[in-house]
Symmetry: D2
Subunit: 293 residues, 4 copies
């Protein structure tokens, strides 16, 4: 299948590799061209504008935030003006539900299809084609693009026809992960200051209480306090919690735990740790307990 892919960051690059591996023809675009060139050596072709990338009729985007995607879609030589009628834009980015709504409407007006298909998983999972995709939008567009999504995921969940619903699920999911990080941070600070070995405590959590790969994975990072290099940067996590709070505000659903997470992530950012892995949220509790950094 011919497909365009825009946004070649930590996540975008391994996704393109998996698309190529699955036999798709991929036309890539990235603002910083060098990242596209790496992929060209592995079989991708390079487009020089988002518009040029749209010729294939199906475009996947994986960008950092609303603003980057806005420029790519609505900007000069953007997707909106170039995608043919009947074409589909699949947005893999974690964006606001309000912006997802605006994208759905703008594409519909141009007789194009818009699908929100945010993904769960870190770069390692992207490389291993083990992401989880949550898709919402017009059913036929999802079906058409399913082979693309399956090229890099272990599971595709389809939520329904309203695109923003997939973004809500993604934001609620990331909120749950951040809540887990905060709870682990506080629990480990308590355990440490009470003279209990945190590694032993983690073993109990993994072996019996939660038995969950994500607790195991993040628990290990926190016990070892190994936050660099970042799998998922704290600043991106802060962005996602902001988006969850914006969605909660729009829905009139107060989320005090999300507020606490935002405040702790913001403190880490204000103190200059925004580039660390977001698991370092756990360091807020350690710092407040007077534990050495």
């Amino acid at each position: 299948m011919r497909v365009a892919f825009i946004g070649l960051g930590n996540m975008g690059q391994p996704l393109v590799r998996n698309l190529l591996k699955a036999g798709h023809e991929v036309l890539v675009y990235n603002r910083t061209r060098s990242r596209a060139e790496e992929l060209a050596r592995e079989g991708a072709r390079i487009a020089s504008t988002p518009a040029e990338a749209c010729a294939s009729g199906v475009v996947l985007t994986m960008l950092a935030d609303d603003r980057a995607l806005e420029e790519t879609v609505f900007g000069a030589r953007g997707i909106l003006g170039a995608l043919p009628a009947g074409g589909a834009h699949i947005s893999l980015s974690t964006i606001s539900t309000a912006f997802a709504q605006r994208l759905a409407e703008a594409h519909r007006e141009k007789k194009q299809h818009y699908v929100s298909a945010p993904v769960f998983g870190r770069p390692e999972a992207a490389a291993a084609a083990r992401l989880v995709v949550v898709a919402a939008g017009p059913a036929e567009a999802i079906e058409r693009c399913r082979p693309l999504l399956e090229a890099f995921s272990r599971k595709v969940f389809i939520i329904g026809p309203e695109a923003p619903a997939a973004n809500i699920v993604k934001l609620a999911g990331n909120f749950l992960i951040a809540a887990m990080l905060e709870s682990l941070g506080e629990a480990f600070a308590l355990v440490r200051k009470s003279g209990v070995d945190p590694a032993q405590f983690l073993e109990i959590l993994n072996g019996s209480l939660f038995q969950s790969p994500i607790y195991e994975n993040y628990g290990k990072i926190i016990v070892e306090r190994r936050y660099e290099p970042a799998g998922f940067k704290l600043l991106l996590g802060l962005k996602d919690i902001r988006l969850a709070l914006a969605a909660a505000d729009a829905a009139a659903a107060p989320m005090p735990l999300a507020s606490l997470l935002r405040d702790h992530l913001l403190a880490r950012a204000a103190q200059g740790h925004g580039e660390m892995d977001w698991a370092s949220l756990a360091e807020v509790a350690a710092q407040n307990a007077g534990l050495p950094a």
Copy 2:
């Protein structure tokens, strides 16, 4: 092995059944005698005071809180005065770390052994001999009693010689579960008010994000809003979070998420819902979002 068991509530009863099933001779005591009589029909013998139960030299206690255990140990005809030197008291209850410390000292003075061995798991798990035990105290006492603990558990973790360390682990563990309940409550309120099917959201959590039996189990209760009959009463959960906060205060480790949990559990109790399952903590977020009760 001959063993005494004191405290025949929702947890104590199935534990005794498992001890009997494993071939141990069990002498039971309960303040309300009728609960002991049920077990007598299944092979247990009945003691009429805690002191009388202690003759066997090994006594397991499973009581509601510090106060109940204090009366049983330090009261007239209590354990402390009756347990022979060299005897062992294994406390399965969720008690404060300060009280565990006091028990350890009091028993040591009498040349008795004290082991804190709190358990994770609800009554169903107790019945199925699937609890997880976290034990701390004198190594030889733990080894001696291990067959008893194994009679009702799928896993026994040994923390070390200081009894209160096991209580810290238990309290930190229950804090993590309550944090999960709060996070699920907020996430489901957001999802519901945004028009996404909560059951579908739960399926995604279970099938990919957390893949954890405890998320699955509690997630189901919350999605169905089925909080009665209670597996674990909210008032007991409130007690445990209070104990976690007391331990955190003693260790000078601030736990703002634990504070939030205490406040929400206390609000539920103040509004008359203390007898429901503690998963109903999730209803705080639903109520604050204006969702119908």
Copy 3:
């Protein structure tokens, strides 16, 4: 002095009356014309568009939020296109610091002056010409307009040349008031449930501890639970705390108490109480304590 006034709500109307009383010629505009007509009977003249109102060269605006002011300034027949070079726009509204920045830049480009001059005080204070004004912007524009500001205030504070600084002060001030409301709400819930007379407690606060008119004023409303008619609607208070949090986010200054206020105000709004006075924030603590509504 000749001046235009746009926005004739609960605050705008008494302000115009005070301007008239001080002898100024006032040209008024309001989207709903009837409110302008009331003032016409008292000496004001009516403009039929914002643009028409701008002829005088000085325009005061008092509107509900960023969106209303954006339409009035940037919309068709808006202020920006109509105000003569050298003219001044004095914005009395509580708006975001980001939007104040945008206004300052847009007016500067047109060689117009922009002054942020938000006010503290409720409608009664506006009527009594007892508001407190916090002004920031070009010094000569502030000096020129000072007689206008003094017509309805007891005090004008001048912050400096950067307009958004006045908005920061206003938002931080409203945050402090809301924090006072929350603290009173929690204190009164404690006092009530402990069997102490809240009126007596309030007397102690006023007579000795705080001796502050604003504690006295709001304390009385809360003790009497008399939240209607609203002097300042909860929904407007919620808007202001949102703006304070947005400013805090932009400045990377976490404000957990502001987060708590936002969540409690949002819960009141979600439960259908957004039209009450924002002092009803105190009812969140009462409700959580199980006190009758």
Copy 4:
């Protein structure tokens, strides 16, 4: 009038001086005798045990916490055994409501009177005889001791016959002050990081918004970041917020803002700043905003 005074710390010493100045005969006791000797040079007489001090029939106590008062009342040679029937114990300390209840009962059993009379005000106010006293207990005992209380206060409020009610008022009052400190801390962090002069902001608060001596006083300390020497130590403030939370728990009145205060005070203590003035609670917000210490 003849009176005993026990507890000669920062508050006790100036209180005794004011009693002497008003012409009362004062018998003092302090665990560390040197502090009593200072007062002996000013006319007080020294007792060598609490019991000995009780001969006068009226004893005032001003001690650090429940534990210190417990020892003084219930310990060997304590007040309870020595105070004559009909005698009165006036406790000025900030203690728990539960302990006030226990004191009331213990004294009643001995036919003695117990009055809770906690005070608002810092050492300077104590020296200037400007404290505010909140008294509760048997009416005739309060009337009898009123001249003593008036010797060091500008106002005596009488709450009613139930002693713990005065302690509730004191704890709720201190909670309100701490809430003010937190709100000022967050507001000043926002203002500072937004480039607004905090002294100017404080001037606005004092001159118009709050017009309250306590805001002025503490606002100045926070703007100048001058937390030493402590007028009231952070560790004592932490103790008081713990007591407020304990009272709130007993009354089933959740106080999330009090929880936040406790967590922030505890973090300051864990980081080694417990001896500073409790106004340094404001530094938590500054630190989280990344402002230099």
